[in-house]
Amino acid sequence: MQQVIFALLGLITLGAAVMVAASRSLLRSALWLILSFLGIAGIYILLQAEFLAVVQVLVYVGAIATLIIFAIMLSRNVMDPKEPRFNDQWGLAGGFAALLFVVLAAIVTRVHWPISGAPAPPDAITRLGMDFVGAYAVPFEVASVLLVVAMIGAIIIARERDR
């Protein structure tokens, strides 16, 4: 059963990702991106990382994708739908990506992954929270500083200059 769900979600995600890369209109790409994110959120749920799924939707879909759409809107006039969507090196890029996938696939399937089939803990979120303020407190703080800096930076860069 799980396999079917996985297959479905995988298809959605990859399909949407392909459309992101290949779509002619940027806005359509953004929307496909959202779909891809949602697919990934579903994958997380399948992997019993519920909190992350929610975070994924909140942050990625709610913030980042929104932001992307804002940016698209703000630069709307420029993008002409008739213009080519790929640059000159799309062949090389595609070739490389394909090659990379083949190699990665070969590696992934041949490596003996040291895994255990333990079930997910019930209090995963609690543990996550404890980690954030405990073992990983410093990275947590740093991450918050990073966010502040990014925020300030973004404001300054994108500010209207009407002096």
């Binding site: 090196q89 090389l92 890029a93 490389f96 190699v103 590696i107």
Partner: protein
């Protein structure tokens, strides 16, 4: 002892010269004072040394020497310095003294102390009654000259002697051309500048030959110093070793060198054929003529021969002495005859000097060492006296002209550069005895000395000794010629005196001539002092063998100078008395004077000479009358009494046998030839070489430029281009596009990663 101060004698006038040139040029009086001061101290010191030397016995054999090693000649040194021996002592007695007197005279002659005239020009004579603008320079020059002459007589070696010789040559040039800006309308009349050059160049001919002789002497003996050269062994060697000459065959070195050195004396003492410069040197101021061309410089040549007499006499019956005697004798008569026909008062004296120098050389050639030296000394005194006197006469004539002509004629007639009126022409003079008494008396005394007026004048004693010497040594021809010359000398002297001082004045200038100017005080005192010496100077040389007077005389002169002769190993007793020379002297002197007086008596008095046509007589009388009434300042048309009788000969004499013209032609053609040769060389030889060098240089530079452009530049630029091209290719990586870089990065990363991962451990 006082001899140690001998080096001061030439130095002091030189210091005077240096001080004037450097500091006191503007102040004429101070300059004159410095010059006189310098020579004055030299005179006192010179007399002190001279008299000390006279007292000292044995100085001839062992002269006092003050020298130091000066000239390095390989491994040896040539010593230079001064020497005091009887000969130089006698010269020291005469030279500084005469120089001093002439310096004092110059103060008056140059007009020092007066103001400069309104039209004062530098380089031309000052107007009468005014000072010459370049007086300081004059005193500087004569001070330098005095240094030269004193140094000459003291020098103890030939090179130092030559240095002073040349120094005097320079001063002679400077002083003859002292009035360098003076020009004449008449192109045949020589200007002072030309005369200076002529003097210099003519004496140069002699000097060069002399230098050759000195160098040969050095080669043969290895020394310049008199003490070394005149060693008996050295002289014997020189006399015996011979050199093979083209025409003359084997000749002793002594003769060759002696003749070469004598050539220098020919030039300096204006003997034939190099005599031409001396008459023209009269363009210089009269003190110059007195100092340089009568008393001192021209006698330097005689001094040189006296000094080197051991060399001249080294060969028994040598050609050198014979040549000297011949030239001297010939010149004596030659010059005397020219003097007879000269009208310029100074020119007569110039030729007289040449003639008297010839006497001295003749004496030397005949072996009369003492006689020649004696005459040298007495001649200096009375010739200086005569020249200074003539200067005084000329000054008086100029004053007279200024006063006489200036009042009546228009002032524009008399300008410095025009010589319509010649104050030196004796034909314009006459009757000056009453108007310029002091000048007249002293001049007459000098003239008597020159003529050899018996017993009372110095000239008589010295000239008599020369005649006696030539007679005694058996040179009859010489004796006769010299006697005749003495007669001619007396004749032209009388002529000169008659024309100048006696009779009636022939021009207004002569009429107004006077001695009243203050300058004359300066001028007449030296004249009087010299006159005393012209009379008394001979008394120290009266031969003890002379009848009557001889007993009273010690003949100090012979004693002193004779010691020099004895030091050479030659016997030097006084000559035994012989009547013939004495008689000849007296006859020549008195006879000549009387003849001159007789011939020119009428001329002087303004009357015609016998032999003129009645028409000429009338003309001449009229002219004379006119000139005394009117203000006609042109030369008189009264002919010289000798003109007609002598006919064409007179013309020759007046034109100085046309020797100047002959030399002129020779010199001009030589100059033109050398001009042509030099131009030929320059255009056809030097120019092509120079141009060729230039062209070669240019070719080389073009080649260099080509290689620079095509080889060096190409290489350098080529390197640059290659690098640029390579860079151009390499820069294609930098597309500027982020995604390109990203792709490359990813690919590289992947490759590295997988390579690392898949590497066998």
């Amino acid at each position: 002892m006082i001899f140690r101060l001998v080096w001061l004698l030439p130095l002091l006038p030189f210091v005077g010269f240096a001080l004037i040139v450097l500091f006191t040029n503007r102040n004429k009086q101070l300059s004159a004072g410095l010059a006189i001061g310098g020579i004055g101290i030299s005179w006192l010191l010179g007399w002190a040394i001279a008299f000390a030397a006279f007292k000292q016995e044995g100085l001839a054999a062992n002269p006092f020497r003050l020298s130091r090693d000066w000239l390095p000649t390989g491994s040896t040194w040539q010593a230079f310095g001064f020497a005091v021996d009887p000969l130089s002592a006698v010269m020291l007695f005469m030279v500084p003294f005469v120089c001093l007197l002439i310096f004092v005279y110059s103060v008056g002659y140059m007009g020092v102390g007066k103001s400069e005239g309104h039209h004062a020009m530098r380089g031309v004579p000052a107007e009468p009654g005014h000072v010459d603008p370049l007086s300081s320079r004059f005193f500087a020059y004569i001070a330098l000259f005095a240094c030269g002459m004193i140094g000459l007589v003291l020098a103890d070696n030939l090179i130092l002697l030559m240095v002073f010789w040349e120094l005097m040559g320079l001063c002679s040039y400077l002083l003859i051309g002292f009035w360098y800006a003076r020009k004449y309308d008449d192109p045949t009349k020589i200007t002072p500048k030309q005369a200076g050059l002529k003097a210099f160049l003519t004496t140069r001919v002699g000097d060069t030959i002399m230098l050759a002789g000195i160098v040969l002497l050095l080669v043969q003996t290895g020394s310049f110093s008199f003490s070394t050269i005149f060693q008996p062994q050295t002289l014997a060697t020189l006399a015996s070793t011979t050199v093979n000459l083209p025409v003359f065959g084997p000749t002793p070195w002594a003769t060759v060198i002696a003749i070469l050195i004598f050539c220098g004396a020919i030039g300096k003492s204006a003997q034939f054929p190099l005599h031409v410069w001396l008459p023209d040197a009269m363009e210089g101021p009269t003190p110059v003529s007195a100092l340089i061309h009568a008393a001192t410089m021209v006698s330097a040549g005689v001094y040189l021969v006296i000094r080197t007499y051991p060399l001249m006499a080294a060969v028994e019956n040598g050609a050198a002495l014979r040549l000297i005697m011949t030239i001297g004798t010939f010149t004596a008569l030659f010059a005397a005859t020219i003097a007879v026909a000269q009208n310029d008062i100074k020119k007569v004296l110039a030729y007289s000097t040449i003639s008297q120098l010839g006497f001295m050389f003749a004496a030397l050639g005949a072996g009369g060492y003492v006689a020649a030296t004696f005459h040298l000394m007495t001649h200096a005194f009375f010739k200086a006296l005569l020249f200074l006197g003539s200067g005084s006469v000329i000054h008086g004539m100029e004053h007279g002209h200024h006063e006489g002509a200036g009042r009546a004629a228009s002032p524009t007639q008399v300008r410095p550069n025009e010589e319509r009126f010649d104050p030196q022409d004796m034909r314009n003079m006459g009757g000056l005895f009453r108007r310029m008494p002091r000048t007249a008396w002293t001049f007459i005394i000098g003239g008597m000395a020159l003529s050899g007026l018996p017993f009372v004048t110095a000239g008589f004693w010295s000239k008599d000794e020369i005649l006696a010497e030539s007679f005694h040594t058996g040179h009859r021809v010489v004796f006769i010629v010299l006697a005749v010359t003495a007669l001619v000398t007396a004749f032209y002297t009388a002529r000169q005196i008659m024309m100048t001082f006696f009779g009636k004045p022939r021009t207004a200038a002569a009429e107004h001539a006077n001695e009243h100017d203050s300058a004359f005080t300066w001028m007449t005192w030296p004249l009087m002092v010299l006159a005393v010496f012209a009379i008394a100077g001979g008394w120290i040389g009266i031969s003890t063998t002379f009848p009557v007077l001889g007993v009273l005389s010690r003949n100090a002169f012979h004693h002193t100078i004779g010691a020099m002769v004895e030091a050479m190993g030659i016997a030097a007793e006084e000559l035994p008395f012989a009547a013939t020379p004495l008689l000849a002297s007296i006859v020549a002197s008195l006879g000549g004077l009387a003849l001159g007086w007789a011939v020119y008596r009428a001329y002087a008095a303004g009357r015609f000479a016998p032999g003129l046509s009645p028409l000429q007589r009338q003309e001449s009388t009229l002219h004379v009358q006119e000139s005394t009434l009117h203000v006609q300042e042109t030369t008189l048309h009264v002919p010289d009494p000798l003109e007609r009788p002598m006919g064409r000969v007179y013309g020759w004499l007046q034109k100085k046998y046309r020797i100047d013209e002959l030399y002129g032609a020779f010199v001009t053609s030589t100059l033109r030839l050398s001009n042509w040769l030099f131009r030929f060389d320059d255009v056809l030889v030097i120019d092509p070489i120079v141009d060729g060098a230039g062209r070669l240089g240019r070719r080389l530079s073009e080649l260099s430029r080509w290689s620079d452009t095509h080889i060096v530049d190409a290489a350098v630029n080529g390197v640059g281009r290659v690098i640029g091209a390579a860079g151009g290719q390499v820069r294609r990586i930098q597309t500027g596009k982020v995604q390109n870089y990203l792709l490359v990065a990813l690919v590289t990363l992947s490759v590295l990663l997988f390579a690392f991962l898949l590497m066998p451990k």
